[in-house]
């Protein structure tokens, strides 16, 4: 591709006093890409977004967003982007339509153009017949869609969505992601943070933040191949998994054992035969354990990486 990346970040850092919230992060995002930004609580996701949206001055490093420098031209950045903040989405005491009217005005839209865009946002949220409803009375999922529609009123080239699906039920989450994918298909760049690792599968590329550092960045498949080598088995045992976990952790040929819901995820060297481990468990008195091959998920990647990072920075 010959067009320059729409977001370019070089050694971006933010300190709050002596606390390093974002530590020399570098990456770029292509036009029309869905870029996922993952990390545990306090990893520095929101802080990165605040810098990229011109809300927070970086301590060091630089970035351009839609061709504008975030430190010296924050106003140009703001005209080019839409933003859904993590805490606030809409004024709950105002009606659906009032919220949209206000944000349209805030983006400098007026007249017929404004009406057209408000209309489009109502469409996106599916709220045509509920435009006079007070926003507080809407279910969370619909509210988030409305907030997305309102962040898109001025047809920005990029939207930053900070945990847009937090507290939203799974069905509504799927609906929300359908909208995001449609958006990207039409050429809008989407920068999204999430706690739901399953959602990261929808992203073209995923960056993983741990303690302010970007520890991995690749396509979901690339991350799995690189960080979850070997074969993965889900292990279930009628007597619970505690004893099995202890035994497997020390067994030769086992790369990693992680609790995964009611089951264990056991990663073994590619050539190892699961029967061998089953026999090992049986011989040590853990009976009836089943080994089922599973595809690695981003959660496995996350567990592998957070474990590594934890060791690197004690």
């Amino acid at each position: 591709m010959s067009t320059p990346p729409i977001i370019e970040v070089r050694d971006l850092s933010k300190r709050f006093g002596s606390f390093q919230a974002v530590n020399k992060v570098s990456f770029h995002v292509e036009r029309g890409e869905i870029f996922g930004y993952l990390g545990a609580n306090g990893a520095g996701k929101s802080t990165t977004i605040r810098m990229l949206t011109g809300l927070l001055a970086p301590s060091s490093g630089s970035a351009t967003v839609a061709g504008a420098d975030i430190a010296s031209e924050p106003t140009r950045v703001k005209r080019a982007i839409g933003y859904m903040s993590q805490r606030f989405s809409l004024y709950l005491d105002l009606s659906v339509e009032e919220n949209l009217r206000f944000f349209a005005g805030a983006y400098g839209l007026s007249g017929a153009h404004r009406e057209r865009r408000v209309h489009a946002a109502l469409e996106l949220a599916g709220l045509h017949d509920r435009r006079r409803v007070t926003t507080r009375d809407l279910p969370g999922g619909i509210r988030q869609r409305l907030a997305l529609g309102s962040a898109l009123l001025h047809e920005p080239a990029i939207v930053f969505l900070d945990e847009p699906t937090a507290g939203v039920d799974p069905a509504a989450r799927r609906g929300f992601w359908r909208v995001i994918r449609d958006l990207a298909a039409q050429g809008t760049t989407v920068f999204v943070t999430t706690h739901h690792l399953d959602e990261a599968e929808y992203c073209a590329r995923v960056g993983l933040m741990v303690d302010g550092r970007l520890v991995a960045l690749d396509t979901p498949q690339g991350l799995k191949t690189a960080h979850v080598p070997g074969s993965l088995y889900a292990v279930e045992s009628p007597e619970g998994t505690r004893a099995a976990a202890a035994l497997l952790t020390d067994a030769p040929g086992v790369l990693a054992v992680e609790p995964f819901g009611q089951r264990l995820h056991v990663r073994v060297q590619g050539s190892a035969d699961p029967l061998r481990f089953q026999n090992l468990l049986t011989s040590r008195g853990v009976l009836g354990a089943t080994f089922e091959p599973v595809e690695p998920t981003l959660e496995d990647v996350f567990l592998a990486l957070v474990g590594d990072a934890g060791k690197a920075t004690p």
Partner: protein
């Protein structure tokens, strides 16, 4: 040129969007709106009827050392009104002082020997009025009354002596301009100060802090809306509410308390509007500085109630305050509103005369706007 016009248009649109949003918040909050409209009515009725500064039957001790018709006429002028009541007559000023001490008298009228003689000759006739300053309100009101009575009676005797029908008019009587000496007439400008400052500052002090607290400030600053646009846009609807309050206070003042409107009503609104802007900006400034509704409302209450009550000249004369308070009073807007309103309502002065009251209030507005804009970073952290 065309670009500039477009930019101005966009600024206007964004400011109007802020006003629109704020108006919607206000309309949703019926309780707040009701409070903003009922509070002025309550205040003015409460102060107008229950709290009277009219002074009656002030105990007076008469020290007449002259014993002439002139001295008796002067004494009669005082005792004729219900304001003073003669509680004792003596020839010894020391006796009067003792009565002050014991609280038996608050005012002493001392007519020295030779008073009548002096008034017949061209020289000044001096009678002394001693006032117990411990009770500030009574003292200042009594002084005012005494001043008017003394002048009127001296003019009468002067006119009689010279055989003229029209007594010469003394400028000091003119400054008093409240012939019935009714305190409610004085109260209305004072109430205007209290109502406008407390409501305006309180309402705007909450509005920016609220946006910080619920996190919407971050969302706002991610749009192209600038800090001046946020502040001025938010002021709009509160300005309208303030004007309605001005109308309420004025209507009640004229309708119930017979406050005269000697000057133009438009000028009353003009003076009040400048004060209103200053107060709205004071609230905005507090909000930007604190970013916290609780703290902002406390600071708003402290910084409006006391200045509008004490430093406005509404009840206590500013001239008799210690220098630091006088300086403070001349920086803060309340005294200018009281002065300007009294001038327009009671004296009927024109625009040129109240500009001197409007200018300091406008300056206050602009300085706070600049300070708030400086502090109001478009950063969230």
């Amino acid at each position: 040129m065309k670009q500039l016009k477009q930019q101005l248009r966009a600024m206007l649109l964004r400011t109007l969007a802020m006003s629109y949003k704020e108006l919607m918040h206000i309309l949703r909050d019926k309780q707040m709106l009701g409070f903003a409209l009922v509070m002025p009515v309550m205040l003015i009725l409460l102060f107008g009827f229950a709290v009277s500064f009219d002074v009656e039957r002030v105990p007076l001790v008469l020290v007449d050392q002259d014993h002439t018709p002139a001295s008796r006429a002067l004494a009669d002028a005082f005792t004729a009104s219900r304001t003073f009541e003669v509680v004792a007559q003596t020839e010894q000023p020391a006796e009067a002082e003792r009565m002050f001490r014991s609280g038996a008298a608050k005012v002493a009228l001392v007519v020295p020997a030779g008073f009548a003689k002096a008034s017949l000759h061209d020289s000044e006739a001096v009678a002394q009025l001693l006032v117990d300053g411990a009770d500030n309100t009574t003292a200042s009101v009594a002084l005012g009354y005494a001043n008017a009575v003394a002048l009127a009676s001296s003019q009468r005797s002067f006119a009689a002596a010279m055989g003229r029908a029209e007594p010469p008019i003394d400028a000091r009587v003119r400054t008093f301009f409240n012939p019935g000496l009714k305190s409610s007439v004085f109260l209305v400008p004072g109430l205007m100060v209290m109502v406008l400052s407390m409501m305006a500052v309180m309402l705007t002090a909450l509005t920016v802090a609220r946006e910080y607290e619920r996190g919407s400030m971050e969302q706002l600053f991610a749009t192209p809306v600038g800090r001046l646009e946020v502040m001025l846009g938010k002021l709009g609807p509160y300005f309208v509410i303030g004007e309605v309050q001005v109308l309420l206070v004025l209507t009640l003042g004229v309708g119930i308390f017979d406050v005269p409107v000697q000057g133009s009503v438009a000028l009353v609104f003009a003076v009040s509007s400048v004060f209103l802007l200053a107060m709205l900006m004071q609230g905005m400034f507090i909000s930007v500085m604190t970013r916290n509704q609780m703290l902002a409302s406390q600071i708003a209450a402290i910084t409006t109630f006391l200045p509008s009550l004490l430093l406005s000249g509404f009840i206590f004369p500013i001239d008799s305050m210690p220098p630091p308070l006088r300086v403070l009073a001349s920086i803060l807007p309340p005294r200018y509103l009281v002065h300007g309103l009294r001038a327009v309502l009671l004296r009927g002065v024109g625009f040129a005369d109240v500009v001197r009251d409007m200018a300091p209030m406008l300056a206050f507005f602009l300085v706070l706007l600049a300070l708030a804009a400086r502090k109001f970073r478009r950063e969230v952290a």
